[in-house]
Amino acid sequence: MAELNINERQAGDVTVLDMSGKITIGEGSVALRTAIRRLLEEGKKRILLNLAGVSYIDSSGIGELVSSYTAIGKESGQLKLLNLTQKLRDLLTITKLLTVFDVYESEADALNSFK
């Protein structure tokens, strides 16, 4: 089984990536990077990462989230985060990234925020 599984769906003009597994150095980080690059190539620039199923993330994974955020921002797009686990929220808090990312606990609220 892959370290990180990513399921893509469309909600209006927002692309939602339902992610489960681990975003760690190696396979997990690469999977996220590859998915984001592909979406940008397809012109999909409004992206919501549903992280409910992400059980673990390391500094490489956090770096990949930052890299995704800046890459999408450079294309005048938006990356938002949905359903952080408490541990991921804690990591984003201590790294001060919680102040950078737009984070939601309700998918409806997250989707509305893109409008």
């Binding site: 190696g26 390391d58 500094s59 490489s60 800046t70 990591l91 790294t95 950078v100």
Partner: protein
């Protein structure tokens, strides 16, 4: 309880990070430390081994990452040794400084220090860097 010591010697590959984490999780599970402490140890070990593989040994598979795990009634101590050139942790920039928050790397040592009670580095006489990390019970 009595103490336990385990030593591991692993190749300098990215997949060693997960292998080391699994071995440490098993050791930590036997040590009876709390789940929160075990989570912190797991985070710190992954970062330390990542640094040893990438920055210390530069993924040279002729070099190993050697790990010593010790549990005692008071603490769990983990040492990760690489065969690299050594580095000065004091010159690593603070990843939470405003100008560094959006950097894509540089948080590993910060996590190690955040999750462990003691973290220190030493250069071994035979070469290489050892990072020693301690988590009290």
């Amino acid at each position: 309880m009595t103490g336990e010591t385990t030593e591991l010697s692993l190749p300098s590959r990215i997949d060693t990070v997960a292998a080391a984490a699994a071995a440490v999780a098993e050791f930590v599970g036997r040590s009876g430390i709390s789940d929160d402490a075990a989570f912190g140890i797991d985070m710190a070990v992954r970062e330390a081994v990542t640094n040893a593989v990438l920055h210390g040994n530069r993924q040279d598979e002729d070099k190993t990452v050697d790990i010593i795990l010790k549990s005692s009634p008071d603490a769990v101590e983990i040492s990760v040794h690489d065969q690299g050139q050594g580095f000065n942790p004091e010159i690593v920039p603070d990843p939470t400084a405003q100008e560094n928050i959006l950097k894509t790397s540089g948080r590993g040592i910060f996590f190690m220090r955040s999750f462990m009670d003691e973290v220190d580095w030493s250069i071994r006489p035979g070469g290489g860097t050892t990072v020693r990390m301690l988590k009290r019970r």
